[in-house]
Amino acid sequence: MSGVNRSGDGGTLLEVENLAKHYPVRKGLIRAKQVGVVRAVDGVSFTLKRGETLALVGESGCGKSTTARLVLRLIEPSTGSVSFEGTDITKLGGATLKAFRRRAQIVFQDPYASLNPRLTVGQTIMEPMEVHNIGDAASRRARVEELLKLVGLAPYHAQRYAHEFSGGQRQRIGIARALAVEPDLVVCDEPVSALDVSIQAQVVNLLRDLQQRLGLSYLFIAHDLAVVKHVADRIAVMYLGRIVEVAEKRELFDNPRHPYTRALLAAIPHPDPARRGRVQPLGGDLPSPLNPPSGCRFHTRCPFTQQICKEKDPPLTDGVACHFAGQLPPAGLDFSGGLTEKAAQRMALYAAAAGGV
């Protein structure tokens, strides 16, 4: 029932090539004329291996959520292809498209808006199984119980409605619903950014556990690099509809090569007052995707801009899209520090007393 080989790591599960989504902008009431194009996603390529987590990171308006929806074909791409196990899903229709949908699921950002208030939790989790004709009523009910336990809820929660749950619990329900049809790929669209800090940690831990147990592949959309550092294997940084840098997690944090990646990393305030004042804000605002800058899209805010940056658009080569990658001075970012001995000791006691949770 569970698709083709679900064998841990290895092969490529998803291959995205030159994906783009352009929205025409029209003006006028009766004879609307196209006056421009919003390039929400503009030529994005990446791969995702089985059992891997690839994070798409960037600020609002960079196109990361649009990319996620394109990958699931919730919206149609303008150009480009999305291959899932070698099949281009942008060309699928009917039964084959439905078969793909069973294997690729999504967890949404807002746990308040993404659950139907008129369905019980049981009905919510059962719905995807009904859509895909999996099992009969009895086996579905059993599966709901199993899923609720899997995500850290109790079987009796199935009779309740979404409004009876807290944000973190709702996100667990959303995760259970995504897992109901045993997908291979789960797109997590900012799954923890609407949650409180202590609840974020619960959900992040849960997502990691589930990945290990079920061999899931995650496409993880986020704006918080600290969360991403915790969950991702590889990271792709997006700016104005393009990937500007993609690298293994460790590589990206140790040696960020694109000026925008550096700016993002430098903007994060560290939870350590001893290192106060090291945050370096990036100047300016994000330009409009309706009228992106010429050449390199980051040149209007980049501290290293040269003439060529304004004229020529640098392609993504060897994981970075910058004319001067490799020639820039060291990033000078310092992530050392960590907890004091006292704090670490007490946290160890906390973890031990909490039974390793």
Binding site: E59, S60, G168, Q169, D196, V197, S198, I199, Q200, A201, Q202, V204, N205, R208, H223, D224, L225, A226, V227, K229, H230, F253, A263, L264, L265, A266, A267, I268, P269, H270, P271, D272, P273, A274, R275, R276, G277, V279, Q280, P281, L282, D285, L286, F335, S336, G337, G338, L339, T340, K342, A343, R346, M347, L349, Y350, A351, A353, A354, G355, V357
Partner: protein
């Protein structure tokens, strides 16, 4: 408007003493803020940390006396340089708001009025507090206020509407409005939560510069410990309506005492550390109408013992200037024993 010299005599700018704010509901009274005491020093930043439902926003609204029916301040005092705000008439209180205490909110998108220009809104506070100011003077001061928050081409922005500005720009306008009458205290309620990280860095930078320029004090309310570490001098950690730990920002991170503070610190993923699992706090914040007896954190606390369920722990000094409301702090001594 001349005030006592900053720090003179050691009296803090703002003292909140044993404040209780209660909301009447059909299910009985709900105490959103329960016996909170904090102090804000002249020119310093007090960070208030807590998650949703801990009462941090109700606390800031109580300081401003903006609690509307069915809520009310049941007891306690709010002293601004020794003057009890509770004793002021509504008219006198209106003079305090904006002029002595400015406030900015989380949502720069919804906190601005979409049908008025930026300039009209920025000068509103001046019009209220100084009705004699001329139109030309208002414009001049409004543009100067925009300049002060580093908004490019302020003359043009003065005549624009909020929808023409980006999120970061709008928060700058909010700050400009709050600072238009040069208040001595700025209450910033989650000022950067809705913003992107690079914009957040710009806004925090701006707040720090403005504080250095004006010598104002800031109450910074946030759930983000990174922002606290970056900005705060002193910290109060709130949980379920009470302050559970009160100390300097440095001491909170280097020597956290309350188990809730420990859990919060362990919950955040850090760039300077590789951990397999985050130290999540189990369970959720109890709703204010179903609070557990004793210490309100006890159902989620791994160190809870019977005494924690029986008595309410009061803030007590663990080390000099470092208070925690926990029977078991410091945990390494009580757990080992």
């Amino acid at each position: 408007m001349s005030q006592a010299a900053p720090g003179g005599g050691g009296q803090p700018l703002l003292q909140v003493q044993d404040l209780r704010t209660v909301f009447r509901t059909s299910g009985g009274d709900v105490t959103a803020v329960d016996g909170v005491s904090i102090e804000v020093e002249h020119g310093k930043t007090l960070g208030i940390v807590g998650e949703s439902g801990c009462g941090k926003s109700v606390l800031s609204l109580s300081i401003m006396r903006l609690i509307a029916h069915p809520g009310r301040i049941a007891s306690g005092r709010v002293l601004l340089e020794g003057r009890d705000l509770a004793g002021l008439s509504n008219n006198e209180m209106r003079k305090v708001r904006g002029r002595d205490i400015g406030m900015i909110f989380q949502e720069p998108m919804t906190s601005l009025n979409p049908v008025h220009t930026v300039g009209f809104q920025i000068t509103e506070g001046i019009r209220v507090h100084e009705p004699k100011a001329s139109k030309a003077e208002l414009r001049e001061r409004g543009i100067a206020a925009l300049e002060r928050v580093r908004i490019p081409s302020p003359e043009r922005r003065f005549d624009e509407y909020p929808h023409q500005l980006s999120g970061g720009m709008r928060q700058r306008v909010m700050i400009a409005m709050a600072l238009a009458c040069s208040p001595r205290l700025l209450i910033a309620d989650e000022p950067t939560t809705a913003l992107d990280v690079t914009v957040q860095a710009q806004i925090l930078d701006l707040l720090r510069d403005l504080q250095a320029e004006t010598g104002m004090s800031i109450i910074l309310i946030t759930h983000d410990l990174g922002v606290i570490a970056e900005m705060a001098d002193d910290v109060a950690v709130m949980y379920a309506g009470r302050v559970v730990e009160r100390t300097t920002a440095r001491a909170l991170f280097e020597d956290p005492q309350h188990p809730y503070a420990l859990g919060l610190l362990g919950s955040i993923p850090r760039l300077d550390e590789d951990r397999e699992r985050l130290l999540a706090i189990q369970g959720t914040v109890p709703p204010p109408f179903a609070l557990p007896p004793g210490c309100r954190f006890n159902p989620r606390c791994p160190f809870a013992i019977d005494a924690c369920r029986a008595e309410v722990p009061l803030l007590r000094e663990i080390t000099a200037g470092h208070e925690a409301a926990c029977l078991r702090a410091p945990v390494e001594e009580s757990v080992a024993a």
